[in-house]
């Protein structure tokens, strides 16, 4: 027996490189195959866990497919009426200055029925971290047109495809919010591939740190897939997300006003507090 029979890597101590985040419940989700919500849930669980925010977090969930996020993320949750999550979060914020407040909304919830609430929470610069999952349709109700639906896209309420003259153009709500001085940070990520998912996690982490630093409102839009609502296979939906959706909603940082406001990174809280 010689030393060359054992590859060097096998002699290294075992190293854990992937595990379930502590804040992600051991539940199978109700999401359809190929849906991006599960990925975003995991990213939220990872970021909150890494920043030690689990025991401080009060999350608000909107109405739509992600209403059951409270079954999957192990933090305190408040269900909001459709579109009202930013108002509910404002109420929590104003009486619980010690809490970490996070909202999780879809595109129908935020960009249609909830436009007033999101615009004014952002305009007030509420210390809230908003997670906004944009999959371009109303998934829960069967794939109707959302304000974010692409031109030409067929949905159950635009069977001939979305037409600008009839249905208006896609609504870039995050760009609109980025105009407001109260918005300290706005970014758009994607779940299209591992690189994009890694960037999205970095955006989410920054958006949490912005709140901890008291810099203002922070939002991360995540363009995501809805294969069932789009009438595609999961594979096709990834291609559509990369080619069509990202063209209208390009990922990247839309505004970062913390460059003029110093952001202090959150001190890591001991995991034992969870």
């Amino acid at each position: 027996m010689t030393a060359t029979t054992k590859p060097p890597v096998a002699t290294a101590a075992p190293r854990l490189i992937y595990e379930r985040p502590e804040l992600l419940a051991e539940e199978s989700t109700h999401y359809c195959p190929g849906c991006g919500h599960g990925v975003v849930h995991r990213l939220v669980a990872e970021v909150l866990g890494e920043l030690g925010l689990g025991p401080r977090t009060i999350a608000v969930v909107g109405v739509g497919c992600a209403v059951f996020a409270y079954d999957y993320l192990r933090v305190d949750f408040c269900e909001a009426p459709h579109g009202r999550a930013p108002a509910v979060a404002t109420g929590i914020r104003r009486v619980r200055p010690d809490a970490f407040v996070l909202t999780y909304q879809g595109d129908g919830d935020m960009a249609a029925i909830g436009t007033a609430e999101i615009v004014h929470a952002a305009a007030r610069g509420e210390l809230i971290t908003a997670v906004f999952v944009n999959n371009g349709v109303y998934g829960m109700t069967g794939g109707q047109m959302a304000p974010t639906t692409l031109l030409g896209q067929r949905t159950t309420s635009t069977p001939g495809g979305r037409e600008a003259a009839l249905h208006g153009c896609p609504l870039p709500i995050t760009e609109m919010l980025a105009l407001l001085p109260g918005v300290a940070y706005a970014a758009r990520g994607s779940v299209v591939d591992p690189v994009a998912i890694g960037r999205t996690k970095a955006y989410l982490k920054k958006a949490c740190e912005v709140q901890l630093a008291g810099a203002g409102f922070a939002i991360v839009e995540v363009i995501s897939t809805c294969p069932v609502g789009w009438g595609m296979t999961p594979r096709e939906s990834i291609d559509w997300l990369r080619d069509a959706v990202a063209e209208v909603y390009p990922p990247g940082v839309l505004v970062d006003r913390t460059k003029t406001v110093p952001v202090v990174p959150a001190p890591a809280t001991p995991a034992s507090e969870g």
């Binding site: 608000v60 408040c78 009426p81 104003r94 009486v95």
Partner: protein
């Protein structure tokens, strides 16, 4: 004796809420309750408490939902059109079992209506606001001093039963000034064991109204109904004046009861034995007490600043034990005491065979049988 001070109803309600220990106020400007919001805008920040002028009444009630979910003591206020918008949040808060006190300083409707006082939201307050099988306790003060007493009571009911509670006033109650003794009741801070405070050292909590499994939602509704029965048993409030020898009783609440009281005095001067039955809780409605009283009466006259809303509950309560007449004014018009005395005279002849229920001698909305 405490020195009496002149206070506007809106301001008195606001200050009573502050004294009771209100942690947060959310509102949106609307006449005739704007002074309440303005009072809170000044006082709440002074005390280091939360005040937000919301983007809409939808925003305000949902901010209240969020704050209440963390266990805070929360007040919101509005007037009729704004309460319609708050109906959504009222339903969610009832379903999620969250305490909140909602003040409605009623104005005339429907639609934009007027900014004048009205009682035309009785149906909305006692039977409605939002969707779903739920009830909300409604307290109707008839004087500013009574409003000061009822505000802490409303918080107590809201927290004891984990439910929204409404204070139903009208434009006169909100805008009028009265001398009051500024004795405000302070409540101990709420200590809920269900509130969202961050899952530190305990399993996560969820405040929600969604129950997708039919068995779950039915069980939840059964629990809610049991709670509403408990509220009916313990929180029914009313006042009686001069009913011991009364042959005809006026049933009226809020501002209408004040007019009725004057009318009662004038009627008694004219030899008519008239009493006043004043519901203070509109839901639960004091049906049993009114039914007992009806057995001793020749007739009941319901007086409202509406086209006839509470009169339906009165008729349901008395179940034909006495004829029920109605006199109401709408649009911001307030019945005069003499109008009410004229209507009372009909109460003394209602059993006469020559009485024509469909004839309205005042040319107003007061036909006895019109709304039967």
């Amino acid at each position: 004796m405490t020195r009496r001070v002149l206070m506007k109803g809106n301001e008195a309600i606001a200050e009573a809420a502050i004294a009771a220990g209100c942690d947060a106020y959310f509102g949106y400007p609307i006449t005739p309750q704007a002074e309440l919001l303005e009072w809170m805008a000044r006082r709440m920040p002074e005390l280091g408490r939360a005040f937000v002028q919301a983007e809409s009444e939808l925003g305000a009630i949902n901010m209240a939902l969020g704050a209440a979910a963390t266990g805070a003591r929360v007040l919101v206020s509005s007037s009729s059109p704004g309460i319609s918008l708050m109906g959504e949040g009222m339903s969610y808060m009832a379903g999620s079992e969250l305490p909140v006190v909602v003040v409605n300083v009623m104005r005339g409707g429907p639609g934009l209506g007027s900014i004048q006082p009205s009682q035309s939201d009785y149906f909305q307050a006692t039977k409605g606001h939002g969707h779903g099988d739920y009830r909300v306790p409604v307290l109707a003060p008839s004087a500013i001093a009574e409003a000061i007493d009822l505000v802490p009571t409303a918080f107590e009911i809201a927290e004891r039963y984990r439910t929204p509670v409404m204070i139903l006033a009208d434009g006169i109650m909100g805008q009028a000034m009265e001398p009051v003794e500024p004795r405000f009741r302070t409540l101990p801070p709420p200590a809920p064991d269900w509130a969202l405070t961050g899952a530190r050292g305990r399993p996560p909590r969820v405040v929600h109204s969604l129950h997708l499994q039919p068995e779950d939602l039915e069980a939840h509704n059964r629990d809610l109904q049991a709670k509403f029965r408990a509220i009916e048993a313990a929180e029914t409030r009313w006042a009686e004046e001069g009913v011991a020898d009364a042959e005809v009783a006026i049933v009226a609440y809020g501002t209408a009861a004040r007019v009725a009281r004057t009318a009662m005095a004038r009627a008694r001067e004219a030899g008519m034995k008239v009493g006043l039955f004043r519901p203070i809780s509109l839901w639960p409605f004091p049906s049993a007490a009114l039914r007992d009283l009806a057995l001793r009466l020749r007739a009941i006259l319901v007086v409202e600043l509406s086209a006839g809303q509470m009169v339906e509950d009165v008729r349901l309560a008395v179940e034909g034990r006495a004829p029920v007449l109605f006199h109401g004014r709408t649009g911001g018009m307030v019945p005069t005491p003499d109008e009410v005395v004229a209507a009372l005279r009909r109460g003394f002849v209602v059993t006469d065979p020559s009485f024509d229920a469909e004839t309205d001698p005042l040319g107003l909305i007061c036909a006895a049988g019109g709304r039967r």
